[in-house]
Symmetry: C2
Subunit: 254 residues, 2 copies
């Protein structure tokens, strides 16, 4: 087994057991104590763990932080990345775009990070991941931090949205259906989303295939308000017909 893999396994092991002695790790991974020591040292330097005499333990200060960023989006990762890429292809230099909260929309960062765009977003993960790329002009309307979605929920209609003419809005949703339209789970965010959809010249909806025929607590716009529906699998005929009738362009990623 290569070192990298072993270190990852050790990381998992410690996370599972909350702590571990060096002898224990030595026994489980069948390498010398010396090697374990070096591996542990590396893990400690990465910041998730702290060294204790004779062993290693999780550093819970940073733990919660890291997990919220690292381990969150896993379900359908590759699909989401594909959808994000397909959507990002529509972004051009000088655009003023809105990026909704959600795990699909955040994947767009990888594909627009070198473009010259103004991004308006309430998505905290996106903001943090945009930090290294100075060409991205990032603006947020602010509001109350919602930890469920790592986003800011607006209290009321925000002035900042009036100041910018949003070109393209990239929206997410917890469920899409013909009868209930585009829905999400957070009342605080609905008003903002609805307002964005109305103001943006072009509206993109990014949803993976298993969001169809489902719906969440609040409807923030009808499906007919969408201009581009970006997803990973061609939806059934009912949606295809609806798209044709309402001039919604279906974009199937990859």
């Amino acid at each position: 087994m290569i070192k990298e893999k072993r270190i990852n396994k050790i990381e998992e092991y410690i996370k599972e057991h909350k702590s571990a002695s060096l002898d224990e790790l030595m026994d489980v991974f069948k390498v010398s104590k010396n090697t374990i020591r070096r591996d542990v040292q590396e893990l400690v330097e990465r910041g998730d763990f702290k060294k204790v005499y004779g062993g290693v333990a999780i550093n819970d200060e940073k733990r919660a932080n890291l997990e919220s960023f690292h381990e969150r989006q896993v379900r359908n990762q590759t699909e989401k990345e594909k959808i994000g890429k397909a959507a990002a292809d529509f972004v051009q230099d000088e655009d003023i775009i809105f990026i909704d909260s959600g795990t699909t929309t955040i994947e767009m960062i990888k594909f627009i990070k070198n473009k010259q765009v103004t991004v308006i977003t309430n998505n905290l993960d996106f903001i943090v991941r945009a930090l290294p790329y100075e060409n991205l002009n990032v603006i947020t309307a602010g509001g109350i931090l919602e930890r469920k979605t790592n986003s800011f929920g607006s209290l009321k209609y925000m002035d900042i949205l009036n100041a910018y003419n949003i070109n393209k809005a990239f929206m997410a949703s917890t469920g899409v259906s013909l009868t209930n339209g585009v829905t999400n789970a957070s009342p605080l965010e609905s008003e903002l989303k609805a307002s964005i959809v109305n103001r943006s010249s072009e509206v993109f909806l990014l949803v993976d295939h298993d969001k169809f025929d489902k719906y969440g607590l609040m409807t923030y716009c009808g499906l007919d308000k969408i201009d581009y529906l970006v997803t990973d699998i061609m939806p059934n005929e009912v949606y295809q017909d609806f798209a044709k009738k309402n001039t919604i362009q279906l974009v199937i990623a990859e």
Copy 2:
């Protein structure tokens, strides 16, 4: 299988397993180690992966991102932490406080993380570090992301500030002097800061000793507007006199 397809499969494989040894890939994809090596090299050049000894692993760019948060403030760390603690001692449950941007104010997080407070802040580092503590109700006015300070610079007076009656404002400064008052370097933030100082019932200024008798680009309030001056070394008599005359309470940390 065509090269492109194989490379994509390898990409998926590595993503799924977090890392892989060359031998492992050789075995799975039934090509020579030489080819695997070339494929891996290409994947590494694309940026998502890094080469490790004996194999390849995912390039955890998120980790680098987070490091920029943790490793940034180093100058006068201990002093700043002390000042942060001294200031945090004034924070009580149910307070509505404002936390300014800056490396001193952010230290307060460690000492208020278990209190029941509403925090209004434009300090992005603070927001991120407050994520794990659900008892902290975090609100931001938003605005344009300024990478120099990792904070949001407001465009204009924000409604959100009217909605909350800020109890205690914990302000930072790049320089303090009797003649120039309390100054900072960012024009975008000055207006917000001035408005906060006016609205908050109690104003705390957190500065370490080497900020005295210096001044920055913009003055956002006179020194007399401050109610508590929290620092690490007792300032000279001129400041002591001024404090006495203007009922400013000097707080010397530790």
